[in-house]
């Protein structure tokens, strides 16, 4: 292989890393090896070969395609205008949520499309003292995560199931005089939590506290799958992982495109059920849906999707900020549609409501 080609492949690898693909420096050697194996006779084969080394996710495919076309010229299908900038790494990894945007140019967002971003809220100037206090309290919320039974075993005292493997091992060797039976039992693990929160216009006043709550819950539980929606569903699990709240909020603000829009709960749940449910509902999670139920979508669709959601998780808890006010009746069309499929309906309007929610989450038993 010529030195120029080697150089080019290595730089291509570096370029991919810049685009957010997890191509580590040692992978450069693999890219070279793959190139040497398939040769340069076919551009398509070279592309497939480099792709099979550099890409580890379906979502990365369009990013790779765009980068390859950009880098290996030939028939450049994607011209890069001056006013583009690579997306932040996280966005490039997970791509926009469908709607035909994941074409060859997915890695770039043209500078002109600021429209939706201008609508994104600026968290920097929210320095209200009370809000800060609420956030502090949420962050220090005590929380004993609910548990569920794992399929894995752990050693236990007698009375549980006999553990033949450990028993036999203990029966041979110098200390084998006492043939004691070892036992095992099902290990316990934390029950996963999935939060799907409404950030539409009518929920605006609660959104920041809501995100602070999700961030705190993630810190407490170690993991949390989080989604927000108004007209479309966005996964913010990755964004919530930042250590400090301000960083998390900024990341969420950058990711979410539809702040304070209308509400289409049905469509959002449909997206969740279709694209995410199977990937995030392992291990019998509890699902928190946070919304006031003001829905502008089709109530029939909402009921159908809610029923499906209820079937795929251990328990559905609906949190409605309005439910706490005296004389509240779940009268909105949306609330009426979902109520039959919800296990619990709780208010979340103040800190004591939140404490109540946490208490409920703690009390969920390991077994059904």
């Amino acid at each position: 292989m010529s030195g120029a080609l080697t150089e080019r492949i290595i730089r291509f690898g570096r370029h991919l890393r810049g685009e957010g693909l997890s191509v580590a420096p040692p992978d450069g050697a693999l890219l070279l090896e793959a190139t040497a194996i398939v040769g340069l006779a076919s551009r398509a084969d070279l592309k497939a070969a480099l792709c099979s080394i550099a890409v580890r996710n379906r979502e990365e495919l369009p990013v790779f395609d765009a980068a390859f076309d950009l880098y290996f010229g030939g028939d450049v299908t994607v011209a890069v205008p001056d006013n583009v900038q690579p997306l932040p790494e996280s966005a490039a990894m997970y791509g926009p949520s469908g709607e035909g945007e994941t074409t060859g140019t997915a890695a770039y967002r043209v500078g002109g499309s600021h429209e939706e971003r201008l609508g994104a809220r600026d968290f920097a100037d929210l320095d209200d003292a009370a809000l800060a206090e609420v956030k502090r309290r949420l962050a220090s919320l005590m929380w004993r995560p609910a548990e569920t039974l794992s399929r894995r075993w752990e050693p236990a005292r007698l009375g549980a199931k006999p553990d033949l493997r450990r028993s036999f091992r203990s029966w041979v060797g110098p200390t084998a005089d006492l043939m004691l039976m070892s036992a095992r039992r099902r290990r316990r693990r934390r029950r996963p939590l999935v939060v799907i929160a409404d950030i539409s216009g009518s929920m605006e006043r609660y959104v920041e506290v809501l995100l602070a709550f999700m961030h705190a819950a993630r810190g407490r539980l170690g993991t949390l799958e989080a989604f927000v929606f108004s007209t479309r569903l966005t996964r913010i699990t990755q964004q919530l992982a930042a250590r400090n709240l301000a960083g998390s909020l900024a990341a969420v603000a950058a990711k979410v495109q539809d702040w304070s829009g209308g509400t289409r709960i049905g469509e959002a749940l449909e997206t969740f059920n279709r694209d995410w449910s199977r990937r995030v509902t392992r291990g019998g999670p509890v699902c928190l849906v946070v919304s006031d139920g003001w829905d502008t979508g089709d109530p029939h669709l909402l009921a159908t999707e809610m029923a499906r959601l209820a079937r795929s998780v251990h328990r559905v808890i609906w949190l409605n900020p309005l439910a706490g006010s005296s004389g509240y009746e779940p009268a909105t069309r949306g609330m009426r549609a979902v109520l039959p499929h919800v296990d619990d309906l709780l208010p979340v309007a103040n800190l004591s409501d939140v404490a109540e929610v946490v208490r409920l989450l703690e009390s969920i038993p390991a077994r059904r």
Partner: protein, 294 residues
């Protein structure tokens, strides 16, 4: 015999009735040449598992399959002692008048008393100079603990059993891992692999697959089916049908003696293609006629 070009791989797969897209043939070729595991992702029913089966046939070697599930542990994946035999051996030694304290580890903890599970079996076969295909199927169903163990195994292909010793594969077996993406597999594991996302076939390839697997279905019906499948996959169904469903459908249509896709036939056989009531209802509501031949 290992094919040594991409075209060779493509031809060999084709000879086993597997019509691979070019990217998959390249990935398989790299797997064989670089001796790295092949990591296949894709929707259910696009032929991920089939790749391993076909590879075993191409290489004329044994296919060792490990089906993953939650809670899969070392005694199911790697090895387990044969407790019943060990018990018998102890009894036998006792009956011969030897006290149980005289029984040494080697007496009942040797290779003879070991039940090899798929991973150990694959390493032993490879150590013996045969080169099996090891299929680790639906890895996403196993838990992170197992994944961590697999990472270790895939990096050096040796198994250490304290009582028996270390078994090392000379040349690693051909490893195929599949995932349906019910969760993300850790990056560290994927990093050791050649990755390929198997997409649904395009119209031409799907038609070719139908004709290859069910030759008596006829050119015309195969075209209509491939067209209908392509349309179904654009409908945003909860579970879009894969190639496996296409072939099931072909079998069903053959049983019914259908010669073309009219609305009646489609309606009767929809349950072969779609496996969720909501999906069936959605397609019915959208009009069966859209799927039937024009």
């Amino acid at each position: 015999m290992t094919p040594d070009t991409v075209d060779g791989v493509d031809t060999a797969l084709r000879a086993q009735d597997y019509l691979a897209e070019r990217g998959l043939a390249v990935a398989v070729h790299l797997t064989l040449q670089m001796q790295r595991p092949l990591f296949l992702e894709g929707e259910a029913g696009v032929g991920k598992t089939e790749v391993a089966k076909v590879l075993a046939a191409v290489l004329d070697t044994e296919l060792i399959r490990l089906q993953c599930y939650e809670g899969l542990d070392v005694s199911q994946a790697l090895y387990e002692w044969d407790y019943a035999r060990q018990m018998l051996a102890i009894r036998l030694l006792e009956a011969r008048g030897e006290g149980s304290t005289d029984i040494s580890v080697g007496d009942i903890m040797s290779r003879d008393y070991l039940v090899a599970r798929p991973l150990l079996h694959a390493v032993e076969e490879a150590a013996a100079g045969r080169h099996p295909v090891l299929l680790i199927d639906e890895l996403d169903r196993a838990d992170e603990e197992f994944e961590a163990y697999l990472l270790e195994l895939l990096s050096d292909f040796q198994v250490t059993i304290p009582e028996v010793g270390t078994i090392r594969a000379g040349r690693p077996p051909v490893v195929v891992l599949t995932s349906n993406r019910t969760r993300e597999i850790h990056d560290a594991l994927k990093r050791r692999c050649v990755y390929h996302w198997i997409d649904y076939p395009d119209f031409e390839r799907e038609k070719a697959i139908i004709l290859r697997k069910a030759p008596d279905i006829g050119e015309r019906l195969a075209s209509e089916m491939a067209q209908a499948m392509a349309r179904l996959r654009t409908l945003e169904l909860f579970k879009p049908p894969g190639v496996a469903e296409t072939l099931d459908w072909a079998a069903a249509l053959r049983v019914l003696g259908a010669e073309s896709l009219d609305a009646g036939v489609v309606d009767d056989t929809l349950g072969v293609v779609l496996k969720y009531q909501d999906d069936i209802a959605k397609v019915r509501a959208g009009g069966i006629d859209g799927l039937a031949a024009l």
